[in-house]
């Protein structure tokens, strides 16, 4: 059997203090935060895999453990068949990491960030310089090699991080929310680049809280929330699991519970959920039920403030799984 690129078994992480990036609250004494609560994942070699979930779902912690920077509380995590806890060095040898926030070495100029990183991986200087320049060219930073890191824009720094993650030619590339803070064009460019990296046979594991991003890029997606795996499949199969039909979201001028109660008996509706003033109904033919749904709400004494239709998507699946929105 082929060794999976990544495997986690009952992976659990409890932080005694707020995990990095989480705001410190003013409370005193030890606080326990369960970031991962028994996560089981398997990523095949060469797969483009997405971890999708809202902030605080445990995505960054998962990446942290798989890249040896976070110690799991219990459970197992293997990268290329190697245990991340007992043989971190062998894991680091095989991976490239693009962090959530660019963290270039600010004491070095742009090209040195790549050349020294390559040297840490045993590359000779001449080869390192040649590869570094090639990557800078590819990232559209070809003429910025001599610049100080602080002179780069946020998007340019992000691309520098991707170049750094690639310079030692890793088998597995981890990207933690790589497109946060990028403008739309930069995001599309990055998608293109990632497809290219994947085309070269690399395993790519990416976290995101953008549905569209996961849908467009990933071969398989794991939906995680509160440290648990809710679903894991191809985007197409996941969408097929979404509650049938289009989601009709009516925002009312007050509590929607009474209106929802009356709507539940209505023909053509597959399911009706309520959350505060928002009534969500799922229907195969939204056009046929919309008018009667509005009348039902009005009959319950509410006025409709806003109507939103969402075709079956990862988003509708996510909401049906977790009861809340992704972003």
């Amino acid at each position: 059997m082929v060794t999976p690129a990544i495997e986690t078994r009952a992976l659990r992480k409890v932080y005694k203090t707020p995990p990095p990036g989480m705001p410190q609250r003013g409370q005193s004494g030890p606080v326990e935060i369960v970031a991962l609560d028994g996560l089981d994942l398997q990523v095949g070699a060469g797969e483009f895999f997405g971890l999708l979930g809202p902030n605080g779902a445990g995505k960054t912690t998962t990446i942290g453990i798989l890249t040896t920077r976070v110690k799991p509380t219990s459970g197992a995590a293997l990268v290329a068949g190697v245990d991340v806890v007992t043989d971190g060095v062998a894991v680091k040898q095989r991976i490239g990491v693009v962090p959530q926030r660019p963290n270039p070495d600010r004491s070095l100029i742009v090209i040195e960030n790549l050349v020294f990183h390559a040297a840490y991986f045993g590359m000779h200087q001449a080869e390192a310089i040649r590869k570094a320049q090639g990557l800078l060219d590819m990232m559209g930073l070809g003429d910025r090699g001599g610049a100080k890191v602080d002179q780069l824009s946020g998007g340019q720094q992000q691309r520098l991080m991707i170049a750094r993650a690639l310079i030692h030619d890793p088998e597995i590339l981890f990207l933690d929310e790589p497109t946060v803070g990028l403008d739309p064009q930069a995001r599309l460019d990055l998608w293109e680049l990632l497809r290219q990296m994947h085309g070269e046979g690399r395993t790519i594991v990416m976290t995101t809280h953008y549905m569209e991003e996961a849908d467009r890029l990933c071969e398989r997606i794991a939906i995680v929330d509160r440290g648990r795996l809710l679903a894991c499949d191809s985007p197409r199969s996941l969408k097929a699991q979404a509650p049938g039909g289009t989601r009709i979201e009516l925002t009312l001028d007050g509590d929607a519970a009474a209106a929802a109660e009356q709507a539940r008996g209505q023909a053509g509706l597959l399911r009706v959920d309520v959350q505060g003033a928002v009534l969500s109904a799922y229907a195969e033919r939204p056009g046929e039920v919309l008018a009667s749904l509005i009348r039902t709400a009005e009959a319950a004494g509410r006025a409709v403030r806003d109507i939103h239709l969402a075709p079956p998507s990862l988003e509708t699946l996510f909401i049906s799984l977790t009861g809340r929105k992704l972003t």
Binding site: A5, R69, A90, Q93, S107, F121
Partner: protein
């Protein structure tokens, strides 16, 4: 699956990390020397040159002062060369992450920082010794005959303060670092037997024995033994044992706090 590259020997990763630190140090050599030697050298100007000229201080004071000034410069440079970058490296963006991801145990990253601190201590000492001697003028008791001892003490002193830098740079919350430097470093300098020989404290036994926890005492006294062996100083065996023990203790403490910062 893509073929994996052959494993990199730890020694090679170490040298690459060291090359990075030396590149950065070379670029910042002027600010580095100013930071770690300006204060001791100003002290030399006042106490080794001006006050003797004015007749407030005996001429022989220079012989007691010079080894101590060398000790302070060595201590400050090694300490700051490790502690200050550590604070930036583990700051908001955790810049050190690219080095923690190098295919080597993370202890190697800490060990390399200590070695880089030792080298920078040497550079500061090498700079301060001739400059201080020039400012003070000829010192009768001074000899360079014990160069081997001098090198040994410099090495052990730099090691003790680099490991102290590792511990302070990773163990102290960044927002308290200014305060901690005042609370730890200032008393360490004034009670480090740098401006007076340890023997001179005999009339104040409480202070004489309390200062023995201060690594600078052993560096200053070791420097005295090497540079002005004719004047009173601690036996070098005691100096060596104390500096080795303190380095070991500070490394043990420092690597613990380093690992706690590096892996969450």
């Amino acid at each position: 699956m893509r073929p994996s590259r052959p494993p990199v020997p730890a020694s090679r990763v170490f040298l690459a990390l060291l090359a990075r630190d030396l590149r950065v140090a070379r670029r910042e050599i002027v600010s580095f020397l100013v930071r770690s030697t300006l204060q001791p050298l100003l002290f030399v100007v006042v106490f080794g040159y001006l006050l003797p000229k004015m007749g407030f201080v005996q001429r022989g004071y220079g012989a007691a002062l010079l080894p101590g000034i060398l000790g302070i410069s060595l201590a400050l440079s090694s300490l700051q060369s490790v502690a200050l970058p550590m604070m930036a490296d583990f700051g908001w963006t955790k810049e050190i992450e690219d080095r923690l991801l190098a295919p080597a145990p993370i202890r190697l990253v800490a060990a390399e920082k200590v070695v880089a601190g030792v080298i920078q201590g040497f550079v500061a000492a090498l700079f301060v010794l001739p400059v201080a001697r020039l400012i003070m003028g000829p010192i009768d008791a001074l000899t360079l005959a014990h160069a081997g001892t001098l090198l040994g003490i410099t090495l052990l002193g730099a090691l003790a303060f680099s490991t102290l830098g590792l511990w302070m740079g990773t163990g102290i919350p960044p927002q308290q670092i200014g305060l901690m430097f005042s609370v730890i470093v200032a008393p360490m300098i004034f009670f480090g037997c740098a401006y007076y020989p340890w023997q001179g404290l005999t009339p104040v036994p409480v202070i004489k024995y309390a200062v023995l926890v201060n690594p600078l005492v052993y560096v200053s006294e070791g420097m005295r033994g090497a540079l002005t062996p004719g004047l009173p100083h601690m036996p070098w065996e005691l100096v060596v044992v104390a500096l080795v023990a303190m380095s070991a203790l500070l490394w043990t403490a420092g690597i613990r706090t380093f690992e706690r910062r590096a892996v969450s």
